[in-house]
């Protein structure tokens, strides 16, 4: 287990190290100003200073993105299920779902804050909006592409719509759903950061704007890199879950 983890991760690790190295050299070579693009070493230095004040921001954003992602997943799967099982509802409401992806934050923000106040709710709504869509689309795609022979069998056996869904269409869509989860998971952190611009006391987004407005670029980068790391961690977690859920695909597949 341990060795296989090392085996799986040394490549990307090396690549990232190389990338950071190149970046460091480039900033020094072309003497790029720190306020424009800080060198990795500057960022590390800054990170050291800033960690104690940064931690609460971090915690707040992680909480926000995890809850948003979970809500988004639930909503996305729920929406996909409803739209799949009720074709008329799908026809009728699909345009609204697309519309929901085209609400710019500058419009949504005042409305949400005015309706729901300065608390977590408007932020969760924004993250949910960002997360649910890829999941819903991928899940719907998976549901409709179910193997027709298996559908034939189920229908011949008199499976009810619910049985068809739970026993065949849903498990069949699992790989597609994971495609959607990966996309949504990746977005959730960024969506949380953006949602914090709606007015928050804490969070990576707040930290980032404060740093940006006082022109502390290294600090901005500390925030970004942390956001990236969280995002990668999310992605990794979803990958692990995927392995677990569709392990039947891997088994005996070592030709």
């Amino acid at each position: 287990m341990k060795t296989s983890l090392v085996k799986k991760t040394w490549r990307p690790f090396l690549a990232i190290m190389l990338f950071i190295g190149l970046w460091e050299v480039a900033t020094r070579l072309f003497s790029i100003e720190e306020w424009l693009l800080p060198a990795p070493s500057d960022i590390v230095m800054e990170a050291k200073n800033v960690i104690p004040t940064f931690l609460p921001h971090l915690g707040s954003t992680v909480k926000l993105s995890v809850s948003g992602f979970l809500i988004g997943t639930t909503v996305g799967l729920g929406v996909a299920t409803i739209l799949h099982l009720m074709p008329k509802v799908r026809e009728t409401f699909f345009p609204f779902i697309i519309i929901s992806q085209n609400m710019p934050i500058i419009v949504l923000a005042p409305l949400l804050v005015i309706w729901f106040g300065f608390n977590a709710l408007p932020k969760l709504i924004i993250i949910t909006l960002a997360c649910f869509f890829p999941i819903a689309v991928s899940a719907l795609g998976g549901f409709t592409q179910t193997n027709r022979e298996l559908v034939h069998y189920m229908k011949m056996m008199g499976a009810s719509k619910a049985q068809l869904f739970w026993k065949l269409e849903l498990p069949h869509a699992v790989p597609s759903i994971f495609s959607g989860l990966k996309i949504a998971g990746t977005y959730s952190v960024m969506a949380a950061v953006v949602s914090e611009w709606l007015g928050a006391q804490k969070g990576i987004g707040v930290f980032m704007t404060l740093a940006a407005s006082s022109y502390r670029t290294s600090r901005v980068f500390v925030a970004i890199i942390v956001a990236m790391v969280i995002s990668l961690a999310f992605y990794g977690l979803i990958l692990l879950l995927e392995r677990f859920f569709i392990r039947w695909q891997q088994k005996g597949e070592k030709t």
Partner: protein
């Protein structure tokens, strides 16, 4: 403003205080120092207020005030006038800076020292009509042709990025961006709006509230204004202590920038006025006329209702 209703405060020491929310216009900066001082020094508490400071981010402060999601906030005359013309019931209750500190900044090597020099140069624009109107006025006053200026819309890019690439000059507030340039050792030429046109010496920033607030609880408005003014007056007299208070409250800001900015800005809060926060009707009127003339607002604005000095402490 000793309204006695308890709005469920959980901290025991301010159980009888009236909760008040105050929205900033942007991230905290030295325009806001007085508010932080009043909070830190207990001026608000003296007036029976428990002030919470909100960072509304992308949510416009004027909308928040108009929708009564915040009680008071930092606004600016150009925004408030436009907002009123669109029907947002806002009132300015104090000017934070007596004179407009906005101006066209450019690195010295570009040699831009007066509006005349704008000709043939590239202006990093936000893209609004107001901006064009201001430049036009300024250049006409200096007998220059506004058509000769090259507009480059720079969107969200900050000043330093813009001048690094393609852009020669841009509109900034000296008290923050200019100070940052000093810190970086970039020498700037400034062409202040107020120096070249009376009508553009508008008040920015200001402290604003809604008409609703004023009519339902004028005492509260008065209490708030008094405490805030006291805070700014402290900042006028003790720039260093005031700066430290801001830094303590918002440790994520650059302390050097805050300190130098505070030094620069403290004498400018009150400036030539007889008291902090006073606003002159003439300046409001001139600017409103200017906006109307350039069709930036469609409806004339009743200046009488747009601002008031009524809540300032009487000296």
């Amino acid at each position: 403003g000793q309204s006695n209703e308890n709005k469920g405060n959980n901290e025991d020491n301010n159980a009888d205080l009236t909760p008040v929310t105050f929205a900033l216009d942007w991230t905290p900066n030295t325009n806001h120092t007085g508010i932080y001082v009043a909070k830190e020094k207990g001026y608000f508490e003296e007036q029976g207020l428990d002030v919470e400071i909100l960072l509304p981010g992308e949510v416009g402060v004027n909308q928040l005030l108009a929708a009564e999601r915040a009680d008071f906030g930092i606004s600016y005359q150009e925004g408030l006038t436009q907002a009123r013309s669109e029907g947002l019931p806002l009132v300015s209750i104090a000017a934070v800076l007596q004179h407009n500190t906005a101006g066209y900044a450019s690195p010295v090597e570009k040699g831009i020292t007066s509006p005349k020099d704008f000709e043939g140069k590239k202006f990093g624009a936000y893209g609004s009509d107001l901006e064009k109107a201001m430049m036009k006025t300024l250049m006409e006053n200096d007998n220059a042709d506004v058509e000769e200026v090259d507009y480059i819309t720079t969107g969200d890019s900050d000043f330093f990025v813009a001048v690094e690439r393609d852009v020669d000059f841009s509109l900034v507030f000296y008290g923050w961006t200019g100070i940052e340039a000093e810190l970086r050792g970039v020498d700037l030429n400034m062409v202040y709006l107020a120096d070249f046109s009376d009508e553009l010496d508008y008040y920015t920033p200001i402290i604003a509230t809604s008409e609703e607030m004023i009519s339902t609880d004028p005492e509260l408005v008065k209490a708030f204004t008094h405490a805030a003014v006291k805070g700014y007056e402290f900042a006028v007299e003790h720039p260093e202590d005031a700066a430290q208070i801001l830094i303590d409250h918002v440790p994520d800001l650059d302390p050097d920038l805050v300190k130098r900015s505070q030094d620069w800005i403290s004498p400018r809060y009150q400036d030539d006025a007889d008291q902090f926060g006073t606003q002159e009707q003439e300046r409001w009127q001139k600017f409103a006329d200017f906006l109307l003339e350039y069709e930036i607002i469609d409806e004339p604005v009743d200046i009488e209702q747009a601002f008031t000095n009524e809540f300032l402490p009487k000296k």
